[in-house]
């Protein structure tokens, strides 16, 4: 067949479709029942191999995915007084002579962690904390990917041992 401008375009479209839909994503594996195992048998083998892989590696992808990410260091927990404080803040400007009045009951004094003034942070300190957090997250993701890879290899080894072709 001679390659013309028309059929070259068609081939290009076909290749694009192939690359988009049929080529497996990175890390994705396919198993084929080489010994003619039934779908029921394959499901049972997969379950048993999953348990074996979890035992071997200590990694269960289902529970690993459910683990929440650590919050960033700068996110303070929402407090009970925020909304009430906001309402009072709206009344700013109408203080009048209220400052010199009866003394109110004091809020709890004492050294809290960080301190209100002592815990203030410069822009450089904030940036350094954000960088450290990002690095920590990146390392955690790498470690997680590495553990998942170990699990996948164990699962694939088990399936291969039971007569499945794994690619």
């Amino acid at each position: 067949m001679r390659l013309t401008r028309g059929n070259a375009g068609a081939i290009g479209v076909a290749l694009t479709l192939l690359s988009g839909s049929l080529v497996p994503a990175a890390g994705q594996t396919f198993t084929y029942p080489s010994n003619g195992q039934s779908a029921q048998q394959e499901s049972r083998d997969r379950g048993e191999c999953h348990q074996w892989a979890v035992q071997q590696t200590g990694v269960d992808p289902a529970s690993a995915a459910a683990m929440p990410a650590a919050p960033p260091p700068s996110a303070p927990p929402p407090g009970r007084g925020v909304a009430r404080g906001a309402l009072r803040g709206a009344a700013v400007g109408s203080v009048g002579g209220a400052i010199a009045g009866d003394a109110g009951k004091g809020a709890a004094a004492g050294a809290a962690m960080g301190g209100l003034i002592g815990g203030m942070r410069t822009r450089d300190q904030y940036a350094a904390q954000q960088d450290a957090y990002a690095q920590q997250q990146s390392q955690a993701q790498q470690a997680s990917a590495s553990r998942l890879d170990a699990y996948n290899r164990a699962l694939n080894a088990c399936l291969a041992g039971r007569g499945y072709t794994v690619r």
């Binding site: 003394a103 209100l116 002592g118």
Partner: protein, 136 residues
């Protein structure tokens, strides 16, 4: 003359103590932080944010208990001195190597705070209003 000097001194001390006591009786305030500026020892100042500076949005000022506290969390700071000077409540304190001074205008509630340490100074602006004592 020898008699007059101690009397005058005693009167002045009594007056000063009275002003200080009046300031310490000032009511509980709730202050909203509006602007934060950070200045370095090199002389440049830049706007910061409440989040970056790790400040609470609201600060409870209790002159009687001599404490600053955050309604959002458990952070506090002690107040070392409270004075009323020309219709301004003047507060001062120190914490973890930082010294701070604040003024709150009695009539408008305008607040300005300077927090200093060896290489950095923060200037914080906001506004205060009278707050009810916290119910427990």
């Amino acid at each position: 003359m020898r008699v007059l000097i101690p009397i005058a001194l005693a009167s002045a001390l009594t007056l000063a103590a009275g002003v200080s006591a009046l300031a310490e009786q000032a009511s509980l305030l709730l202050c909203a932080v509006v602007n934060v500026v950070e200045c370095s020892a090199q002389g440049d100042c830049q706007r910061s944010t409440i989040e970056t500076a790790n400040l609470p949005r609201f600060i409870r000022v209790d002159p009687a208990a001599k404490s600053l506290s955050s309604p959002d969390d458990a952070r506090t700071a002690p107040i070392q001195s409270v004075e009323l000077v020309n219709d301004q409540l003047v507060l001062q304190g120190g914490q973890q190597g930082r010294a701070w001074s604040a003024t709150v205008a009695e009539k408008t509630g305008q607040m300005a705070v300077a927090v200093v340490e060896d290489q950095t100074a923060f200037v914080v602006f906001g506004a205060c209003t009278a707050a009810e004592p916290e119910r427990r």
